[in-house]
């Protein structure tokens, strides 16, 4: 069997690794924008190879795929989906695992996603306001209060600004930041994209515990994978700017220590309903991964923050030890609409931890973070029972260099989060920039202390949303302006 994987990051390295273990003994061909040493190794070991081209160019990718003539193609990242790579290959008759460009709008356009959720009254949706006009957007944010500012288009996870505005004595500072930030966002980020009318999305801000629910679907059946929690803050103690994800934890089983069965089921229900209406609206069948970036909030309980039309990165890496199912078989069945009979097996006895090692400068100064020579002592990492997946690293003339993003993801599984976390920490020293450039990672991901803090936050949030539900406040929000009257917002 021949498989093509399109993409170049840690996510694709994890996918390719899992595919390579299949009993179908596939030859794996990777189509990347640069030479990722991890992907290259997996491909070559399987008897396939890695080739490079512009993976956002549908014609170029098709030429590369034609050279292989694979049984199934997996599109890893969202941008090739947005650029019609899945459409092109499907049009040529290939079995493709990856959302079409129209279905991937669920990730690409945050306005489309919110509109869809509101139009079909799907639970877990937040109030929002979308802008096409820059001056209107700026006018609005100056008085917006406690909100989140997002670019209207998915921009590689960049550009989201969460500004808690609860202290009246600090609100003038925050208003200034919102306005300045909006200007910067529109000129620096949104100006790159001509494929969307909306510029800006303002959402009500919620607090709680985040988790990712990734699901595989053939358009008929939805297979939820175990929940994973990512850690977006760059530094320990949840400090620092938002990144693409500094690491993630998964388990035990399909839950997390701070999410209960009922909340899991509600989350699956939300994704199922979105999948259904999305297919109705687009009139296409969804084949690939649909992921809900969720948050357990005091306002609504399980709440949708974003949707992804692909696996989360680094979230999917958690499964390399704990998913006890032949992923290639699942993907192959999904690509041909035969998912109904598939059951996922998960190692109930294991939990998994992923940690990214990053060059200083990531995420906000990638220019400084780029081009540093990297060495990785893979043997020592494996001696600790861990695996290394390559992310933002490219192989040039036999040497590895940083691309400015996360360098590698270190993955480990075991019986206990704290122990697994410590084992991963020991492996970090085996990843180095040889020019002395600083690297960083999060020591605290998976530790008992951090998980306890999440459990406590979730308890507070659960208490609050349960109260709201008991008073019927999960579907209405009541506001009263003294002297003017009562305003009711309908969330039903």
């Amino acid at each position: 069997m021949k498989v093509v994987v399109v993409g170049d990051g840690g996510r694709e390295n994890a996918i390719a690794l899992m595919l390579s273990r299949s009993s179908l003994e596939p030859k794996i061909y990777v189509i990347s924008s640069h030479v990722n040493p991890g992907l290259k190794k997996v491909a070559e070991r399987s008897g396939g190879k890695l080739v490079t081209c512009d993976i956002l160019n549908r014609k170029e990718v098709r030429v590369r795929v034609d050279e292989v003539s694979p049984d199934v193609v997996v599109i890893g990242p969202e941008e090739p989906q947005f650029h019609g790579v899945s459409d092109e290959l499907r049009g040529c008759g290939y079995a493709v695992f990856g959302a079409s460009s129209k279905l991937a709008e669920i990730e690409k356009s945050k306005v489309f996603m919110r509109e869809l959720m509101w139009r079909y009254r799907i639970p877990g949706r937040l109030a929002y306001k979308a802008f096409t006009d820059v001056s209107q957007a700026i006018e609005y944010v100056s008085n917006a209060g406690d909100v989140v500012i997002k670019p209207a288009r998915q921009a590689g996870g960049k550009g989201v600004k969460v500004i808690a505005d609860l202290q009246a004595y600090l609100s003038d500072v925050k208003s200034r930041v919102r306005v300045d930030y909006t200007r910067k966002l529109i000129s620096d980020v949104m100006s790159h994209y001509v494929d969307i009318d909306y510029k800006l999305l303002i959402e009500e801000r919620v607090e709680g515990v985040e988790y990712t629910l990734m699901c595989i679907t053939d358009g008929y059946t939805l297979l939820p994978l175990p929940l994973v929690q990512d850690h977006p803050h760059a530094f320990d103690n949840d400090l620092g700017p938002e990144t693409g994800g500094m690491g993630s934890i998964q388990g035990p089983g399909h839950l997390l220590p701070f999410i209960n069965e009922g909340e899991f089921r509600e989350s699956v229900d939300i994704v199922e309903r979105v999948l259904k209406v999305l297919q109705e609206v687009v009139r296409e069948r969804y084949v690939g991964v649909l992921s809900g970036q969720m948050m357990l909030t005091s306002l609504l309980g399980p709440t949708v923050i974003e949707f992804y039309s692909r696996f989360g990165d680094p979230e999917v890496s958690n499964y390399i030890y704990t998913l006890d199912t032949d992923l290639l078989e699942v993907i192959d069945r999904a690509a041909s609409g035969r998912l109904a009979s598939v059951k996922l097996r998960v190692r109930e006895d294991l939990v998994s931890v992923v940690k990214a090692v990053c060059p200083r400068g990531y995420p906000n100064n990638r220019k400084a973070a780029k081009g540093h020579p990297v060495v990785v002592d893979e043997k020592s990492i494996r001696d600790y029972g861990c695996e290394v997946l390559y992310a933002g690293v490219e192989l040039i003339n036999g040497s590895m260099y940083t691309t400015g993003s996360r360098i590698v993801e270190l993955v480990c599984a075991g019986e206990d989060f704290d122990e697994v976390s410590r084992r991963v920490n020991k492996c970090v020293e085996f990843v180095k920039c040889v020019d002395g450039w600083d690297t960083f990672y999060r020591r605290d991901i998976g530790t008992k202390d951090l998980i306890m803090r999440r459990v406590m936050t979730a308890d507070i949030v659960r208490n609050a949303y349960t109260y709201r539900r008991s008073k019927g406040l999960s579907t209405v929000k009541v506001d009263w302006i003294p002297g003017k009257g009562v305003i009711t917002y309908d969330y039903s």
Binding site: L170, D172, Y181
Partner: protein
């Protein structure tokens, strides 16, 4: 004694001067004077003075621009020279702010740091290299004009230091946890003794300054007893719960019969709550203050102290007239507060009995580390016998806690306590 505050924005869009202002305001309980240093990534600017003036004219601080800042409050008896230094060399600027006692000079630390930085050391490496040879009992904040900040709690750990965050945008540092909350942030951890936190817009790291030999870590008992705000959480322990438990302990030890319990505002209120609960007596709101709140014990000038006491303790007649009263205070330093109150209660309000109840052991020595304990010859319990103390303040009795009883209250908290001023020798050995 003082308090430190630091704010680092990960995004240059922020201006942190207003955050510094409210951070200092939330540290006001630790000192009346302030200093602030801000960095805009190019140079350092500083401003300082009396907090009361800052309250009236906050523009002076508002006009300073910067997305990274450090600051501190310090009391009148403390002095800023020796605690703060600013150095500049060839376009590189560095400021240091220390709370506590440093063996050596802050200026000297700054000079050595600058020298290593000039030799090409990274700031953290230079810091560890210099600080590992600096003994003392202190917390420190460092800022440079590259927008790098280091917060450090020295090995003995006598003064707390806390780290917090606000969303994806700010890292917050403060002696107590309260300023972090007031700034809309979330308390994330207590900096451990001997630990430093390096914070810059593109990197945060936590590390330890290596030490030679064994050092006892202990946090100052007076932080929990008097210094910190009731709403603070120090090293993971709720200050309020400690004060209430100490009050309960006092209630179990108290031998007299009274009609009502009154706490001296504001520090002693949780003590009085615990005390009254054990006695099963009413806790009354017995004193009303006039004007701005002041921490009388940390005033340097005796006349100012007396003015402070008189203004904050006007008694409520209904509570005291003809009653047997237990007056609860957190500590007995010079006895001035209790003495002046009792005089009014007896002579003007006709109180029947006044029993003084103190939520801490007898103070018998000053603190060698600059904590706000006056010199030994100014401590009532270091100079007067129990009998004489009762006569001096004109009480019917005085009850103190023993060091053992205090230790008992802390025993389940996992916190090591320095009770040197009650025992006559400091528990923080091997370092000072």
């Amino acid at each position: 004694m003082g308090g430190l505050v630091g704010v680092v924005a990960f995004d240059e869009l922020w201006s942190v001067s207003k955050f510094m202002y409210y951070g200092l305001l939330a540290s006001h309980n630790r000192g009346d004077n302030y200093i602030v240093v801000l960095s805009n990534g190019r140079d350092l600017k500083s401003v300082g003075g009396d907090i009361t003036h800052l309250l009236l004219n906050k523009d002076s601080l508002d006009q300073l621009e910067g997305y990274v800042g450090i600051g501190g409050v310090y009391s009148q008896v403390d002095r800023l020279d020796g605690k703060y230094t600013h150095l500049s060399d060839n376009g590189y600027e560095l400021s240091l702010l220390v709370d506590g006692y440093v063996d050596g000079s802050v200026l000297d630390i700054g000079r050595r740091l600058l020298k290593l930085v000039n030799l090409g050391y990274k700031l953290v490496e230079a810091f560890v290299e210099v600080i590992k040879g600096v003994r003392g009992v202190y917390s420190l904040l460092l800022i440079n004009n590259k927008s790098e900040v280091i917060a450090y709690r020295s090995v003995p750990g006598l003064t707390p230091l806390h780290l917090g965050g606000y969303g994806f945008d700010l890292a917050l540092i403060a002696t107590e946890s309260v300023p972090i909350n007031i700034l809309g942030g979330e308390l994330r951890s207590a900096v451990k003794p001997g630990e430093y936190v390096y914070i810059s817009p593109d990197l945060v790291t936590v590390g330890e300054v290596p030490t030679d030999g064994v050092v006892n870590h202990a946090i100052c008992a007076f932080e929990y007893i008097y210094m910190a705000r009731h709403d603070s959480v120090l090293d993971g322990i709720d200050v309020y719960s400690i004060r209430k438990s100490l009050g309960e302990e006092l209630g179990r030890r108290f031998k007299y019969d009274v009609d009502v319990v009154v706490g001296v505002p504001e520090t002693a209120i949780p003590y009085a709550l615990g005390f009254a609960k054990v006695l099963g007596k009413d806790l009354e709101y017995g004193f009303i203050s006039t004007g701005v709140k002041v921490r009388t014990a940390i005033k340097g000038d005796p006349l100012e102290r007396l003015i402070g006491i008189q203004l904050k303790l006007n008694p409520v007649r209904y509570v005291f007239s003809g009653r047997r009263v237990a007056i609860v205070d957190d500590s007995l330093v010079r006895g001035l507060t209790v003495k002046s109150v009792i005089q009014i209660l007896r002579n003007k309000l006709g109180v029947k009995e006044v029993h003084v109840v103190i939520g801490s052991p007898k103070l018998i020595t000053n603190c060698p580390y600059g904590k706000e304990i006056p010199p030994k010859d100014e401590l009532l319990t270091a100079n007067l016998s129990d009998e004489l103390a009762v006569k001096y303040v004109e009480a019917d009795s005085i009850t103190w806690l023993s060091v053992d009883e205090v230790s008992k209250v802390f025993s389940s908290s996992g916190v090591n306590l320095c009770t040197g001023c009650f025992l006559g020798g400091c528990l923080v050995r091997g370092w000072s």
